[in-house]
Symmetry: C2
Subunit: 421 residues, 2 copies
């Protein structure tokens, strides 16, 4: 990057909405996106005439092969009654809707459009686990797939490298899992609504009802260590290190900064955007960081003028527990090799000094892959507007938050900084 | 559209390249895109340091399900040595790379980037005809697919409606086919290098060699009327009304207008861009025009200040011969119901008053779907720089050309006007 990136026109978020994230037997992409759209519309404080929406950008990864339908831009535009407005589908694997957000920012900053709807959707759960694993693997770099890796395997290898280098262990990953599960019940949209304690209680209750041996886990970590309750998937990734299969949609209304007041008195401004491409594990000389995350972060920090210390809280891509550790280092929140200690000290908990994944993260909020990037930004937006309810970050004068989204094994990374001014 | 669209920063094309379009047994998306990239690089008059490329936008439609690999943005960025620069994949069916072009325009006009590579690639021919037909149908609107339509069937229905309304016939479609085949041998990148006369001669020669009955076609139309030589696919669409299955790639270098002089003394400026979403046949009250093409054209004309009369030549999406007729009406070049007469009068031929598809069009240049939009714009760029060789439009002071790209059955339409100043 040869120069400081800047936009010639400021862009603000003035509305947002998301569907419940869950596994739905009877809801397709149109249903899910419509739910998100309706909530977005009602979130616009001073009202929104859908006719004011100039264009749409839709992130989606798997619909081509999971539901055998491509070309979702115009399909969703039509479903929302917005045709003939232009609608463009963006695919960047699990980072698809963070990319859609970015294209909306560019389209407005260019001066061409004033109001753009951005978001994403995914409809995955009607497929078997095997089909989902095979489908998602299409996002991996060919070398990785040719080597026989699945995603749990790839992130297991990354975890092993991190453990080896910095002395962390599975116990440290468990802190991530416990935190995410503690945050999720505070988020009504989250797929999982149970803390690890809740899960334990429920399993004990069921065991008693069945009249079998009743587990005597001493605490949450004891539960997570139990290979029956928390079986290995690809060592050291166990079941509770992995995000679920999810369906869902999320959308955000972006407008030119100078017209934001027509929509709300509380616009949230796009302070920094960054995106970068990664080369995959086979090209990496070190598995304990993501080069693309670092580049994306650098771009966004430079544009915003903020430093990592200025980011008061963040949503960080945690498809597997290990990557939350890596990313909060790559984003500069903690020094390399230090994040697991910070997590153990509770710094990333809701009441810590740097709350991470207050939404419950991908682990518990769910990960409908094409919707995730937009949903992360919605969490940041709700927090900055003090609309996050019981999971509101208890930091006085909440002003700056950020979202980090990852596609594949770091093939695409984005970092987006939002600001209340 | 409530206001005149404009960009706050001008954008210019300063380089472009494309692979040969053909069916390749041994070349994948990386090979094809690299060929286009190398040609693009050598086309930049004053030289290009690839390090100056800030970002990439890649159009692709079928790689997810035809080659079982998604996430082509970073894969191609890496293949070209451009990682960690951000790379975004855009899917808008057969209009994918026209959309990629547009996102590049926005990214530069926003002030964020100075130089962006846009383009597209498709790798289709390793699949059987049946698989390709089924795969491409994923771009159709669900209603159309549920009704059992394939693309030839859909465009056959459109042709029937046009014939019925305006009194045109298959004879008029043949004029389109003959013209495209006359232009193609003048384009070294075109998949088909034979005029219809060449095809006839070759078939006659082969018949003589085999010692069978020798056809005695009186002229090109007589050949095209022969149901053995030109069999029906979906009436009235016959074989020679349909574009082929093709592999290929195309890419274009866009830069901010004010820095274009560092790359070339002959930049070609982006004068107008337009995009719109269509609702498909089931929602149309009239099959003889594409609402989305009209909207996209209106947007581009308004931005540019040009009228249809100002467009001296154009590339127009001709996946099937009938849609060339419709689109040159929708774009305002001819009145509704008049285009087939204009074509019969030779006005759209290379030496006519409004040359259309000087490249040979999708019919003969080939249609690697994700590369088509960019390739159309490359034809316009070459013509405006007087680099189109023997197929150069013989109009004095060639200054304004345009490209129209269609995805699905009009789900996505774009219209882009380029200008030499």
């Amino acid at each position: 990057m040869n120069k400081k990136r800047k936009l010639s026109r400021g862009v603000a978020v003035v509305g947002a909405g998301m569907s419940k994230f869950d596994m739905f037997k009877d809801r397709d992409s149109k249903d899910l996106f419509a739910e998100a759209f309706v909530e977005m519309q009602s979130s616009v404080d001073k009202g929104l005439d859908p006719g004011d929406i100039d264009a749409l950008y839709i992130g989606n990864f798997t619909n081509d092969f999971f539901v055998h339908q491509s070309h979702w831009g115009p399909i969703l535009a039509d479903a929302l009654g917005l045709a003939p407005r232009p609608a463009t589908r963006i695919e960047g694997a699990c980072a698809s809707s963070a990319l859609a957000f970015r294209e909306g920012v560019f389209a407005i900053a260019s001066g061409f459009y004033d109001a753009v709807l951005v978001g994403g959707v995914e409809d995955m759960s009607k497929r078997s686990v095997e089909e989902v694993a095979e489908g998602l693997a299409l996002a991996a770099i060919p070398d990785e797939r040719n080597a026989g890796f699945t995603f749990p395997g790839i992130f297991g290898a990354i975890a092993t490298a991190y453990f080896e280098r910095y002395g962390a262990s599975r116990e440290d990953l468990m802190n991530i899992t416990i935190k995410s599960h503690d945050n999720a019940p505070l988020n009504p949209k989250a797929q999982y609504q149970a803390t690890i304690c809740d899960v334990m209680r429920s399993k004990i209750k069921r065991a008693k009802e069945k009249g079998g041996a009743v587990p005597d886990w001493s605490d949450e970590k004891d539960f997570l260590r139990d290979p029956i309750a928390n079986p290995p998937i690809a060592w050291p990734m166990h079941l509770f290190d992995c995000c679920p299969i999810s369906d869902g949609a999320a959308c955000i209304l972006l407008v030119g900064e100078e017209i934001a007041k027509h929509f709300t008195d509380e616009p949230i401004h796009v302070a920094g955007i960054g995106q970068a491409s990664g080369r995959g594990l086979s090209a990496a000389d070190d598995l304990t960081y993501f080069e693309a995350t670092r580049y994306a972060a650098k771009e966004a920090y430079e544009m915003s003028g903020f430093t990592p210390a200025d980011i008061q809280f963040a949503e960080v891509h945690d498809c597997f527990s290990i990557v939350e550790l890596l990313h909060i280092e790559d984003l500069g929140f903690f020094e390399p090799g230090e994040s697991y200690k910070a997590v153990a000290d509770g710094l990333t908990r809701l009441d810590g000094s740097k709350p991470i994944n207050t939404s419950g993260g991908l682990k518990c909020k769910g990960h409908p892959v094409g919707a995730t990037g937009a949903a992360q930004l919605i969490e940041v937006w709700e927090q900055l507007r003090n609309k996050a309810g019981d999971r509101g970050v208890p930091i006085k004068d909440l002003r700056v938050g950020a979202a980090h989204n990852l596609g594949g094994t770091g093939g695409t990374c984005t970092f987006t900084i939002l600001e209340r001014r």
